[in-house]
Subunit: 143 residues, 6 copies
């Protein structure tokens, strides 16, 4: 019985802004800098979803990575790709669209769908730019 | 006298959409697909600017690549980074914000500034996603 | 009238070997080294297809890159992805499956389909490993 | 006493298929999709091997990374590079050649050789494509 | 209360050598190989700094990644970029400039500055080449 | 007769500085910035060598890419890898070690060795950092 971790990468392109309308322009600038631009900006996001499980004896798979890709596409990518995170994405409504909150939101969307296919969702990595990414383990703290 | 080509990479993140208001929703969908989303989407763009010239005897430089980076930042990146290409960028006003048109627009912004520092602007490469990029040689057709 | 170059990347995974049955094992080893392994080996290939044209006034596109991707998938990727280049790919029958020959074969498959959509096929780049790639300009020699 | 983790990357190119001869063509297609192609397909694999240890006072090394590279090459890469995983690789005989099973097989090959040089084998990461990878911690579950 | 991990990447270019003057040329060659070259060699280093924390309710940030970048630049990059690690970097004086020791040194430089801005420094990843990197968790052993 | 272009990538790590001893510290700083650091800095260089030719009928090769790699290693990499470009590399003596001059120097080292094996050396690309690279076509100006 050898638990192993499999990861699927999917990508999406989206617009967003980091801006609070209940704050002054000055405070938005100070806290969010150019990310607060009123007219939005955007990114090519890379999403890595990690599932832990025991390889099936017949297939050698924890979970077919193509199937994992399909689940991610259906539950997340179709809702967010070529969309505006602040305006178009139901699971981000009334939240700041920081990479942190987006990763947590994606986890919550995916969570219910992974168990059905075998394996356990254990990590989301969300890359916003080559310099910035976040990792979320469902609230666990491995380090 | 050995002409050589030097390239500087700079990056920017921006929102845009590909959509014509003088077209129906159906036609926009048919031609531009999900890129026509009313509420915008966005990308991490990579811009590569190539200058041709003869290395200076004293420095070995065609043009100091840091200086080339500064020119690109001042003439292009500051106008477009964390902006909306359709709404915020003066040199893209009244143009479709395709990667093709954006590359040509960037060439025209840069063109007047390169000669002053030595070397000749010969190529713009603009990468929109890992799967899509354009190259522009100022209208020349090397191949 | 500003000709510009657009490139679409698609990927495929395939098996092949470089081996001549009309040569001795020793000669195969000497010329092809470990690439001559009787039982095949394989690669993740990256294919870059470049089309030259004038951006359309209404769309800003030389050719919709998604459409270009669809053409590449239909005429090339479906025939070669998760296949054996030597055994399964009709356009490589009776040819050595070198990266050179594969790039030329892909050009010939694509060639007839690009003109219909606007633009002219001008370059194929085929990346076999991070250390090895070939570029083919349809027999032209830009440099 | 500061434990630290060092990682060495090596690469190999190999052919394989995911197919059970005791299953019908239909079932193979349903479960393994195009990975079940009778005539094989292949990949450029990236292998990352992580060793944990305390830096040596004289050298600053947990383990010389070049030496770690040599161990990986001798015990793994030479057996699998430019080979057919299903037919040519002794440690994968009678196993499904899934990325999961391959990572576990590589761990078992390497395991006995790391301790001799200092440090403890703690992780294998095996990247099959840009979208798919697995990580194995020897059966441990850090998260 | 959902702890999440954010990572910032910064880069620097530096010279160093791995060589002990209290050892013979032969022993230096044997242990350090070409890294012992008397006249130095160098690398483009990539530094990834990971901070753990709870996203702030108002901003969605654990810590503004731009601010994290500024802290890294001020406390580490300015001391080491375009420098000689053995000769110019105060926090590496009298230490072997192995990637291991450099990562630990960087951790110790950064450690005192992260808490002030929120979040807890939990990991340093230092990439020396595409084949070699180290990870340091402040002495903790997550796996 | 279909000329095609093949490219081999090799890497090296080296130290250098951009500094003229016949200039004041101030002038060195002004022209070369932090690259003028007296005690050197360094890079991971990537070298791409492109050869043009007709695929051989028997092999499908313009030139065996492994053989091209061996030529590059013997004539260039062994002289420069883990070396100081200013002090240790014969073909860079009495030249400024700019990326431009280094690319031209590498071309001149390689030039005599490519013809013997078939094909014609047509391009050197030398990548110094992710943001800076040069391309040299032996003095030709394809664009």
């Amino acid at each position: 019985m050898k638990p192993i971790y499999i990861t699927r990468r999917e990508t999406f392109n989206a617009a967003h802004k980091l801006r609070r309308d209940d704050w002054s322009e000055e405070k938005n600038q100070k806290v969010f800098g150019k990310c607060s631009n009123q007219n939005w900006h955007g990114h090519n996001f890379e999403l890595f979803v990690t599932v832990k499980g025991i390889p099936n004896k017949d297939t050698g798979f924890v979970l077919n990575l193509k199937k994992l890709g399909d689940i991610i596409k259906e539950t997340v990518i179709e809702k967010i790709d070529h969309k505006n995170i602040n305006l178009d994405v139901d699971f981000m409504k009334d939240k700041m669209s920081s990479t942190e909150n987006l990763a947590i939101g994606i986890w919550e969307e995916l969570e219910g769908y992974i168990g059905d296919e075998g394996g356990e969702l254990v990590k989301i990595k969300l890359v916003e730019t080559q310099n910035n990414f976040v990792e979320y383990f469902g609230g666990k703290e491995p380090f």
